[in-house]
């Protein structure tokens, strides 16, 4: 059942409802008993160094009443001065959904004496617009010291008949010693629940007990944020509840068949204009075109259509003035020349079919947001779509709705993900292509001269390929030439570990869907050569800055996640000043760790230094246990990049 339908039902219930009863606070006004152990506690061995911990959390939701409500209880032990900030409490809520009532709060000093909160909870308007009021109840607790326990409880009263999907977030900013959760589902709907990121160690799965779904958990770790981590949503322990009509489908296969049929009907209903599409195809391709050429032409044509999903959001006045007509099918889109991203893809699907290709719409789940698991049976997570075309017997995934994506390349969140390939039977699961690291490259070719003052000067050409080109074009799509120039120059500044002068010398092709984006620069690196008495030293890692601080910390909590496999290839030539000699070259550096490869070689070609470097990362996700191996790999990279070429300057330079 859609959210909209649920909402309408809620409205209906509201109309039918009698006078709103005042319900008692579900867990009463009583406070939970406090133990001496809690009072004396100075630290939590399972969360060493924590500023504060939840001693107890409770969430009780009752959806099975005209006046749904959620009771929340929190008891927090303050362990450090920093932890006192948890005494500032803000409870945000949407006024259209309900209101916060019955706030009670108190501070328990370490000696057990109690200071009740008797002040006022301030009403804060965080955002207020027509039809939207996002408010907060804000208060702070008195006399909070290290060692204090603070606790508060309140009830979130939802409007009459207001029923919607909810969730229990178990992973909070603070460690939780004990948590207790319950939900009394609305009996008019079927309820399904899942815990996609698993449950804390030792926690039993939530169970339906006498009309309540219940869960108790202990020792829930605090959630931590790290670099290179997957979407937070995928790592937080949580329980998601989804209401639906009728009897919920328990078999994933059957669930997805049913969902797939619904989605397929929607696609077929939009694309079912065979004749119009055949006429359109005839305008795009020539009969003599090979299948590759035909499909490429269709792709290029469709991608050039106006895609409203990529346009800056317009105000209502602008939309009215533009008088855009609703696009109901591919024929409308073809005639009017615009549509949103999904409609654009469906047009491509229809044209490909009309051109004789076997083609399917594939609903996928973007891995920037979800790590899709079909057994969870959450159709909301299929939040994107691509088109699968059989080209010369090979599966080719296309997404002409992604601006600047070359034919056959998907944006990175769409690569290597499960998708539901739709057909009238409901469909089947496929996995989209993940381009190898060699397809997403940054190639840096520098032709430089070393000046007698130790600076490098010359030309640099950077070629971005595949996904490396695509994300840059997307990011800069709304910028002007001045900003794009700065963007590229800043990228070069990020590559080189010292201050540089860099000037973009060409006009890169920002507007096309070609596989590469080429930028040329005039480059000057002052003081690149360092002194060693009579000798001069040239570090070999000119473009080594991004790796300098990668994975610098020894500890790691979460898996390491890369957006896509990629390769960096550097080719640097340095002409030496007249009379300068190469005294020694560093040995060839290299480490092939299969999923990651590094090599670096420095050569002396009769007065010209030649340094080549390659860094392949064929990784997407790495288990946290393998973090030391990854860290070690990058330490090898940094060691290699720090090698130096020893030069003997000419007589005049040496004297300086």
């Amino acid at each position: 059942m859609s959210y909209r339908r649920l909402f309408l039902l809620a409205l209906l219930l509201a109309v039918l409802g009698a006078v709103r009863p005042t319900h008692p606070v579900s867990a009463g006004d009583e406070w939970q008993p406090i133990s001496q152990e809690e009072l004396k506690m100075a630290s939590e061995p399972k969360a060493p160094g924590a500023p504060a911990v939840y001693l107890y959390r409770q969430v009780d939701r009752d959806d099975n009443t005209h006046t749904p409500h959620e009771y929340n209880y929190a008891r927090i032990k303050i362990l450090t001065e920093e932890g006192r900030k948890y005494a500032d409490v803000e409870i945000p809520f949407f006024k259209e959904e309900g209101d916060i009532h019955g706030i009670k709060a108190r501070t328990i000093r370490p000696d057990g004496s109690i200071v009740n909160f008797e002040g006022k909870a301030f009403d804060k308007t965080i955002v207020k617009a027509k039809g939207v009021k996002f408010l907060a109840k804000t208060f702070t607790l008195p006399d909070v010291q290290v060692g204090s326990i603070i606790e508060y409880h309140y009830t979130y009263d939802l409007h009459e008949g207001y029923v919607y999907n909810s969730r229990w977030i178990l992973s909070e900013e603070l460690f939780t010693k004990r948590g207790k959760f319950s939900l009394k589902p609305n009996s008019d709907f079927a309820l399904r629940w899942s815990w996609p990121a698993g449950l804390p160690a030792g926690t039993a799965a939530p169970k339906d007990e006498g009309g309540y779904v219940r869960l108790e958990s202990q020792n829930i770790p605090a959630f931590q944020i790290e670099d290179y981590m997957p979407a937070q949503n995928e790592l937080k322990f949580r329980v998601d509840f989804v209401y639906s009509d009728g009897i919920p489908e328990k078999e994933p296969d059957k669930f997805w068949k049913k969902e797939g049929k619904k989605l397929n009907d929607r696609v077929e209903s939009f694309t079912g204009k065979r004749k119009a599409m055949e006429e359109a195809v005839a305008e795009i391709v020539a009969p003599s075109d090979t299948p590759e050429v035909k499909l490429g032409k269709i792709y290029a044509k469709v991608q050039k259509l106006r895609n409203t999903s990529w346009e800056a959001e317009k105000t209502e006045q602008e939309q009215k003035r533009e008088k855009q007509k609703e696009i109901n099918n591919v024929e409308d889109l073809w005639k009017r020349g615009y549509g949103d991203g999904r409609q654009i893809n469906w047009l491509f699907l229809a044209l490909a079919r009309a051109a004789g290709f076997e083609a399917y719409s594939v609903y996928i789940s973007s891995r920037s947001e979800y790590f899709f698991k079909p057994q969870i049976m959450n159709a909301f997570e299929l939040n994107g779509d691509v088109v699968l075309v059989k080209l010369n017997g090979k599966d080719t995934y296309c997404d002409p709705a992604t601006a600047f994506a070359p034919f056959g390349l998907l944006s990175w969140p769409e690569t290597g993900v499960m998708g539901l390939r739709l057909d009238k039977e409901g469909g089947s699961w496929v996995t989209t292509t993940l381009p190898p690291s060699s397809d997403s490259r940054i190639e840096r070719k520098a032709d430089l001269k070393l000046t007698e003052t130790g600076a490098l000067e010359g030309k640099l050409t950077v070629t971005f390929s595949g996904l490396e080109a695509l994300w840059r074009r997307i990011e800069e799509r709304n910028e002007d030439a001045t900003n794009r120039k700065k963007f590229l120059e800043d990228q070069v500044k990020e590559y080189i570990p010292v201050g540089i002068d860099v000037d973009l010398a060409n006009q890169p092709d920002w507007g096309s869907s070609t596989p590469t984006l080429v930028a040329e620069f005039d480059l000057k690196v002052p003081g690149w050569v360092s002194g060693a008495g009579r000798r001069a030293l040239v570090p070999v890692g000119l473009f080594s800055a991004p790796e300098k601080h990668a994975f610098e910390h020894a500890g790691r909590v979460h898996p390491i996640y890369f957006s896509y496999p990629s390769t960096k290839i550097d080719d640097v030539t340095i002409d030496l000043p007249l009379g300068w000699q190469v005294s020694s070259l560093p040995p060839v550096q290299g480490l092939d760790a299969k999923a990651a490869l590094y090599s670096l070689k420095a050569e002396d070609n009769k007065g010209t230094l030649h340094v080549t470097r390659r860094l392949n990362m064929d990784l997407l996700m790495l288990d946290q246990k393998l973090y030391p191996t990854l860290r070690n790999f990058f330490q090898v990279v940094r060691t290699g990049d720090e090698q130096q070429i020893v030069l003997q300057p000419g007589a005049s330079a040496a004297s300086r």
Partner: protein
């Protein structure tokens, strides 16, 4: 967080589907008059230009101002689209009416939006900000805010002023073509206008109305480490004086008057309750000297009183009563200063409020007395005769009060007796029973803020360096580490600042042992002690071994490695003195073949000295970097750039080892 909220508000604006739009109307004549106006001078990086701004201040009485604002921008680049979102602040003492916005597109009809389409927002809970405040913003999104189009808006604000003053901030990040300020006073009233960072402009006078016009004002582009905005932007500060000077809230002729106003605002607020008296007595009972007593009270105010700001109306200026602050154990900067003053009074020591700006340079001796210059309150303590503890260094001699000690009860990581760099050499309003005066705060010696690193290391023939490092930090350098560790949420993360430091200098390293000393003892130096192993530290080159004597730590900066010439002075955080001493025992079988030269760079604002020596089989690197002046004027910025390059070069210099001759 604020950005997130703004985004959310913009999304809400975008989602107001189904709300009928206002009837579109033409932009007003004042905007159409700008369509063919010449643009002020600008470069290709300018996002937008302010074509016209107008601020009309009508003083209706001492309790009521009416301010009309009109502004129009021409959007030149995509970044200028943000000027299509109008933000107007107000609070419980002011009301916004008649908010309207327009767009004159390069092609097509004008757009108009009205007040009822505005979104109202206020700041959610953010660490370090007000927990509760009555300040809100109205956001109005103007349609078609695109490159080439002109967007403009106007509104009226009615307010009950806390004081009879207004500030005209006519200079901004973008170039300004023309800005008008009109002042309409009741009969018999007078005003005093003071210009800051811009030559004075005389007004056109007509009866009780005065009008100022400035044009072709350059935009102020942000530069890192530049002086604060208030210290560089053109503005006019106007105070109003009713006939007969009867109003309580009249403008300030001078700092003395502002001090009197603040004195009135805080009157009675430092009265102690019995519980507070008892607490002051118990806190100081075991202290044997006045200095020890003051320190005990200071640490209580800093640490036991939690920072919580609840600012409603005049509450942005007026502190809560000391008794209340004590009872709740929380308060903001002025509350903490109030409590501190009350407790000092209990032990017979006088103290005074010092109203200040937390960014040095915002208020200078040239600044006229006005409210807008300040954002913080600290305490000046009149030191009793005979108190001369060496730890009390943040002192100044006052002609009437004698020796006074400045103390910031909000800054819980700066020990009693010292001041953070931002407050040093700053100017604050000292509030005494006689009124107020703008006074200079002391500048502490560079040695009171610095890092002293010593390392004793062994180098193996395979290039591995290992040994012990000790780091001693004082002043702001200690503050920053204590702050970083204070917000660490688990023990294992305490090592991260060291890892980050080492990663800037070492390709490969393992920390085998580490400890933190004096984390809580803020009156003691902060200590790091750690053991480190760095493989491949020395690089082989043929039969040579290349060793960088500078083991860790970076003093150089690429702050001035920019394409565009610097426009503003460089401001340092505070005076400082850092020193390194690294001893590397060389591997057997090697001797030094070549050493980097010593560096001696002396400038008026800073100095850098380094040298590498050989003592037997030990390579010793020592250096000091001292910041002597807090501001580097434009005329010396090239010298600073040169200094940073010298340091960078020294930091990369290498010693060459060769096989020892047998």
């Amino acid at each position: 967080m604020w950005r997130v909220l703004l985004c959310f508000a913009l999304v809400v604006m975008g989602c107001l589907a189904g709300v009928p739009p206002c009837a579109a109307g033409d932009a007003p004549a004042w905007m159409h008059a700008l369509v063919s106006a010449p643009l002020p001078a600008h470069d290709e990086k300018t996002d937008a230009v302010l074509l016209y701004s107008e601020r009309i201040v009508t003083v209706q009485s001492a309790d009521k101002f009416k301010i009309t604002v009109r502004e129009a921008y021409k959007i030149l680049r995509p970044g200028g689209r943000e000027y299509g979102t109008v933000t107007v602040s107000y609070n419980s003492h002011s009301k916004i009416t008649g908010l309207r916005g327009w767009c004159i597109p390069a092609q097509g009809k004008d757009y108009e939006v009205k007040d009822k389409e505005a979104v109202e927002i206020s700041l959610p809970k953010v660490d370090g900000s007000e927990l509760v405040s009555d300040v809100k913003d109205k956001l109005l999104r103007i349609p078609a805010a695109d490159v080439g189009n002109i967007v403009g808006y106007e509104y009226e604000k009615e307010l009950q002023p806390f004081v009879l003053q207004d500030v005209w901030r006519f200079q901004e990040a973008n170039p300004v073509r023309e800005a008008h300020y009109t002042l309409q006073l009741p009969a018999g009233w007078e005003y005093k206008a003071t210009w800051m960072n811009y030559p004075e402009v005389k007004p056109a006078q007509s009866g009780n109305q005065s009008q100022w016009i400035v044009s072709d004002i350059k935009g102020i582009k942000h530069e890192d480490s530049m002086p604060p905005w208030q210290g560089v932007a053109g503005q006019m500060i106007v105070s109003f004086f009713p006939s007969g000077g009867s109003a309580q809230n009249q403008g300030f002729q001078n700092w003395k008057q502002m001090g009197i106003w603040y004195q009135g605002l805080t009157s009675g607020r430092r009265d102690a309750s019995p519980e507070l008296k008892q607490k002051a007595a118990s806190l100081t009972a075991s202290a044997s000297t006045p200095a020890a007593k003051m320190k005990a009270l200071g640490e209580f105010a800093q640490r036991d009183i939690r920072y919580v700001a609840i600012e409603l109306g005049i509450g942005g200026w007026q502190p809560h009563p000391a008794a209340e602050v004590f009872a709740h154990h929380y308060g903001d900067c002025k509350d903490k200063a109030t409590l501190m003053g009350a407790m000092l009074h209990e032990i017979g020591i006088d103290s005074y409020y010092v109203v200040i700006n937390s960014e040095r340079g915002s208020v200078t001796p040239e600044t006229p007395a006005h409210m807008g210059g300040f954002d913080h309150v600290i305490v000046a303590i009149k030191l009793p005769d005979g108190v001369s503890e060496g730890s009390l260094v943040a002192t100044a001699a006052h002609p009437k009060l004698g020796k006074i000690l400045f103390f910031d009860p909000t800054d819980e990581l700066t020990p009693f007796g010292q001041l953070s760099g931002a407050l040093q050499a700053n100017y604050g309003l000292l509030v005494t029973p006689d009124g107020g005066e703008l006074i200079a705060l002391p500048e502490l010696p560079p040695a009171m803020n610095g890092i002293q690193r010593t390392a004793k290391l062994n180098l193996s023939a395979t290039g591995t360096l290992s040994g012990e490092v000790q780091e001693t930090r004082v002043g702001d350098r200690a503050w920053s580490q204590r702050w970083a560790l204070r917000t660490v949420t688990k023990d294992t993360d305490r090592i991260k600042p060291i890892e980050t430091l080492l990663s800037h200098s070492l390709a490969t390293f393992q920390i085998t042992k580490a400890s933190v000393g004096n984390l809580q003892l803020t009156d003691q130096p902060f200590l790091y002690n750690y053991s480190v192993v760095a493989q491949n530290y020395a690089k082989p080159a043929g039969n040579l071994l290349l060793v960088r004597p500078r083991f860790v730590g970076n003093k150089s900066s690429d702050l001035l490695e920019t394409k565009e010439p610097r426009k503003y002075p460089v401001e340092f955080d505070g005076p400082s003195r850092d020193s390194d001493s690294f001893e590397i025992t060389l591997p057997a079988g090697y001797e030094v073949d070549d050493l980097p030269p010593p560096v001696n760079a002396d400038y008026s604002f800073a100095s850098y000295h380094s040298k590498t020596e050989v003592n037997g089989n030990t390579l010793k690197y020592t250096r000091t970097f001292e910041v002597k002046e807090l501001s580097v004027p434009l005329s010396k910025v090239e010298d600073l750039k040169k200094l940073y390059r010298i340091i960078a070069s020294d930091e990369r210099n290498t010693a060459v080892l060769k096989p020892a001759a047998h």
